[in-house]
Symmetry: C2
Subunit: 228 residues, 2 copies
């Protein structure tokens, strides 16, 4: 019997949380390798040489095979039969619809939610400097342009992003949007469809969703009552 995969991740990283939820939902055994980004554990030469040449998380080691990039990892593990078909379809047409979202999100939803989080929460923490109102406004505008697309296009006529049931697309998207809570952004105010969809995603993924978002809930200080 082969060893379980080693999973390197940090719950502060959005795609790390997405894979964590997906692995747990899939009942896939894995060895928990937590990397504390806040301590710069990923920045050492040892990490680069031994864990991930790109010095990021998430990544996996599968019996010595090292792979980075959350979506590539997901596809690799799906090909190995570790991810159930209802989460990532095997039929190529259905799979392409999920892939379309996974490819779309990088430069749109992920980039702009992460930039908003970085500007409002992370940079002030690291530098001690408060961003200007106009910079925050620009970042919010970029982010909301993509939240508009989630609300009006992806969720136009279905309960989940790519159809009537939960797939990995929803999990990746929700983890990006949850990140903005730490920067005190409440997506529920302007976006009723996203609000209802986030509830569905959380329900479909729990208890794993709440486990993955433990730090997010704590930092955003909203507590379990205010969960999206």
């Amino acid at each position: 019997m082969s060893a379980p995969i080693r999973y390197y991740y940090d719950k502060m990283s959005q795609p790390s949380r997405a894979l964590l939820i997906i692995f747990r939902l899939s009942n896939m055994p894995f060895e928990d390798c937590v990397v504390a980004l806040r301590n710069g554990e990923h920045l050492t030469e040892d990490f680069k040489r031994q864990v991930n040449r790109f010095q990021r998380v998430p990544c996996i080691h599968d019996n010595g095979y090292k792979l980075a990039e959350s979506v590539a990892i997901l596809r690799y593990l799906s090909a190995k039969g570790k991810i159930p078909e209802h989460l990532y379809p095997k039929y190529f047409v259905d799979q392409s619809r999920v892939d379309e979202f996974l490819e779309w999100q990088h430069m749109s939803l992920r980039l702009t939610c992460a930039m908003y989080f970085r500007t409002v929460w992370l940079e002030p923490l690291l530098t001690g400097r408060t961003p200007t109102e106009s910079k925050i406004e620009t970042m919010r505008m970029h982010m909301e342009r993509n939240l508009d697309v989630v609300e009006e296009v992806w969720l136009e006529s279905s309960d989940f992003l790519t159809g009537s049931t939960l797939t990995v697309a929803d999990i990746f998207a929700a983890c990006e949007i949850e990140q903005t809570r730490m920067a005190d952004y409440d997506v529920r105010i302007k976006y009723p469809k996203i609000r209802a969809w986030l509830k569905r995603v959380r329900q479909s993924c729990n208890p794993h969703y709440d486990v993955a978002h433990e730090f997010v809930y704590n930092i955003s200080g909203t507590g379990p009552q205010a969960k999206l």
Copy 2:
């Protein structure tokens, strides 16, 4: 016999060029549907309703099935047997190495090359305003941080990005890097491995590489002699 796919693209778009080269290298028949981004043809309601709900290129229609996002399109056509295995491997381990690059590039190489091009070439054209030296410098720094990774990590010990032979990863990457020539950036100066690799990619893909880059060569004004 089913109709060939309709391919909507503009040679000014990097992933459009990548797919164009891949389709031609694969001898895949397709219906040429050129979209003139410069005339805003993608911004009409008709385009949104009939061609691509995200109002971007590239995208395809396959007997009525509409799909966007270059990497999702590539995988879909590979699953249909339209892309030869040497360009996009079918064995899942080899495929995951190519996928790792395709997922990595979005928020790193693609984002920063595109931002450099936008800042130095596109925005001055659209607004008539020249960017400040410090803004150009910041954009160059972001881009070079990723070109460093291509030079030192991806090309560390192999002739192509994911091994000893050309795959779609190389084609996507080259099309992003070529875009910066229009902004008068010459990647060859600081990056000897990228310089030699770009030559190999062009040679492996021609005549299709030069056909796809026709506008890039014209706009950069470097002419065929100065091709990378």
